[in-house]
Symmetry: C2
Subunit: 359 residues, 2 copies
Amino acid sequence: MKKTDLFLVVMAGGSGTRFWPKSTAGKPKQFLSFGKADSGSQRHLSLLEATLERFDHLVLPTQRLIVTTELLKSSVAAQAAGVTVLAEPQGRNTAPCIYWAAREVAAKNPQGVMLVMPSDHYIANQEKFVSTVMIAARWAAERDDLVALGVTPTRPETGYGYLKIAQHDKVQSSLTCYPVEQFIEKPNLQKAREFLESGNYLWNGGMFLWRAEVILAAFDRYMPEMKKAWDDSAGRVEVAYPKMTATSIDYGVMEKASQVVAFPLECGWDDLGSWTSLESLADSLGTRHDVGVVMNGEVVQVESQGNIVDAPGKLIALLGVKDMVVVQQGEVLLVADKSRVQDVRLVVEKVKKTHPHLI
Amino acid sequence: MKKTDLFLVVMAGGSGTRFWPKSTAGKPKQFLSFGKADSGSQRHLSLLEATLERFDHLVLPTQRLIVTTELLKSSVAAQAAGVTVLAEPQGRNTAPCIYWAAREVAAKNPQGVMLVMPSDHYIANQEKFVSTVMIAARWAAERDDLVALGVTPTRPETGYGYLKIAQHDKVQSSLTCYPVEQFIEKPNLQKAREFLESGNYLWNGGMFLWRAEVILAAFDRYMPEMKKAWDDSAGRVEVAYPKMTATSIDYGVMEKASQVVAFPLECGWDDLGSWTSLESLADSLGTRHDVGVVMNGEVVQVESQGNIVDAPGKLIALLGVKDMVVVQQGEVLLVADKSRVQDVRLVVEKVKKTHPHLI
């Protein structure tokens, strides 16, 4: 496999309101840094920058594509010098995004292996990540499989989808891969515990590898409307996009395809899906604190614990506060019960109506 | 009673950390306004200014004394043009403060009636307040009584001291007064309920009226060390003060004196003793809100109630937040469980050590 056979496709269209008010429409999660900003003068990489840096010795800058939105195009370009930026005319989930990227890659090199990566995930151990990616890329280069990176579960997480590995296999090594039997939506806690114990399940990290011609063939089989929309529009994206099915690659292709395998990934991965994600990452980020997790700001406290605090440049005084999220960003102060962080979107919807400039 | 017989003595030495971070050492409670600042362009009076304005038609500016600290002297002078400001060399509770003021008044007019008033209390109905004060002042001018203004209780409050009226009396009118049998410290809830039901108890509002010569005679009888300290220092306050007993006028004189009477006061009074005081005043201040009480700032909320919010110029988003105090002021953000507001001082003590400039 030559270096010119490897293409990085980074999906950076996320509008990320889950970390509001730290994230906003103009500065979604992929542009945020989750390092401890107050701890030193060094600027931390954004999640997008870290995603790109991770592939520095693997994929040439000229072999990189970032798919994003019109709104974010210039911000993305500023963080990714020399990289091709594709701006979707509208967000239509991951299937159209990946279809477009596959067409771009295939035009350059049909044998090209696409490494499809979200731009807003956290990975603690870069070396382990890269070595698994290299093994998986070689696999994808040499076989007609759709390859997923599945994260070996470390807890009965109910916030992720799962990949079910064939019953007789047990995930033992990240040096080999396992046929995927089923894509499973977010489970309840009991199921998540069963998944963890069985050893037959991996978290679906939304990271995929395949040759451009292989995924395009899968699209043609399971979503033939994509090729039709593309061809009918003579490759004019703004015409093709509205005709493409707005669905996820998981639902549109992966769940239906037969030749799907997964490589287990053990690299301290997290999708940073909500404020509470920061709890499992606290040790790795160095943000563990008596009161819970402190991302930014100084804290003085009395009998407070289990909280998540992010208020750059502020002194945060907590008195008898338990299991709360306290975030200060510009004009906005968010206080939320920790058990309700999945509902931050409800707050965001309200603020969108009353104070649209603060979203 | 001539107008020159009336003297207003305002005690403005409070260092007020109970409303921290809204109040600070340099700007204690008496300098704060508790009006709804965001609701209009009109500047609201501080508690000190409101205290002075209350007596505009009653006491001449030249007949007014404000006792405060060296630290606050210039701030007080800025809010009280033409008024004599006495700066205590050190805070030693109310007895030395009142002794000094009594000497000042007696030197001008021994028959002078002193209206001794805290500078940091809230009074909703100015007319009722003034009419009771006038009746009480006349009483004090004509008799050798120590007169207290006792607030008619409206709830079984455990945060105030009480005045016990003689058993055979029932408080019925604020046009007359009742002999005080006992000064009672803050009761527990059961006692407070009994007090409320019995009709024989008033809240001790720390507001007193007496002729200068009457209170000085009481000092000579119950705290003879005060006169000795004063005379030994030839009236040099910085010498006399350290020798004076640091105690309250209640404990040092009132509890021991025989001729103490109380006028019942019904004027929507509150001592603003903590953040939770703002709940009972919310209707009168116009700060009642779905989420509880909002003093300053705009609130967007989902399933939040029973909170007290004060964050000028901020959008405060509350998600599933119940019975919390959320305050933003400058660099400081305070989040406290509402049941713990009495312990704000514990936080303040810690911050004093780590961030003294923020206290």
